[in-house]
Amino acid sequence: MGAGPSEITQLLKRWAQGDSGVVESLAPLVYDRLHAIAEAYLRGERPDHTLQPTAVVNEVFLDLLRLQRLTLRDRAHFFTFAARLTRRVLIDSARKAKAEKRGMGWQRVPLDAELAWLGGDGATALDLSQALDDLAEFDPAKTRMVELHYFFGCTMEETADILEISTRTVARSLDFSLAWLRRRLAAASPTV
């Protein structure tokens, strides 16, 4: 993380108290990290595709600004929420490309090699989103872990810190969650 937890938490407290100017201080602390994540996801994209990392990050920021009225109470809440927004922007893009039949070359590069088995097309991203929602019905904390670690790029330690559990618990839960997600996707599609 580029900024300390207390720094972000203090900025979020001021934001929640109605200090809209705090966004100008918060954005630089998280922008570079969000941009790097978007770049990683889109690295295998067709060169002529219109979607760019900057556009993904801008969409996330726009959503954060639109939702300013919501209280992002601390660093953990912010990271979890931003991870969801990033995921949603990517899924929306995949859905759009699929609808327009222009998504055949859309390559999504996971942040971690452990997710390489997901493949790279837009349809898979949509399936994964549904599988994550299914997982959340059983255990919302597991979906949060996957989002934070694999979609937002938090380390095991950062994920454990944010969720206030042990690193060992995070590691074991991620092992289980990935296997569960893979089985879910395999059951949904005979080609996975």
Binding site: A113, D175, F176, A179, V192
Partner: protein, 77 residues
């Protein structure tokens, strides 16, 4: 989602995590069978998850091989 489904999810997770504490092979297989206490369906579900776990680990170690494995990917041609 009902209470029974959540309970089974927890059972599967508990056995899965306990099994990961043992090395792959007969010792792990025996533990899974023992913890499933005669529930063949439960035992099979855990075994399948453990197989998937091994595939994921293998794909992470050898991402190129994983990406070209038709059982792990469904890239469009």
């Amino acid at each position: 989602m009902n209470a029974d489904e959540r309970k089974r999810f927890r059972q599967i997770e508990g056995i899965f995590c306990a099994a990961l504490e043992r090395p792959p092979g007969t010792e792990r297989d025996a533990l899974v069978r023992a913890m499933s206490v005669g529930d063949a369906g439960l035992c099979r579900e855990v075994e399948l998850l453990l197989e998937d776990h091994q595939r994921i680990r293998s794909a992470a170690r050898h991402p190129e091989a994983g990406a070209s494995d038709s059982t792990l990917s469904r890239k469009q041609s």
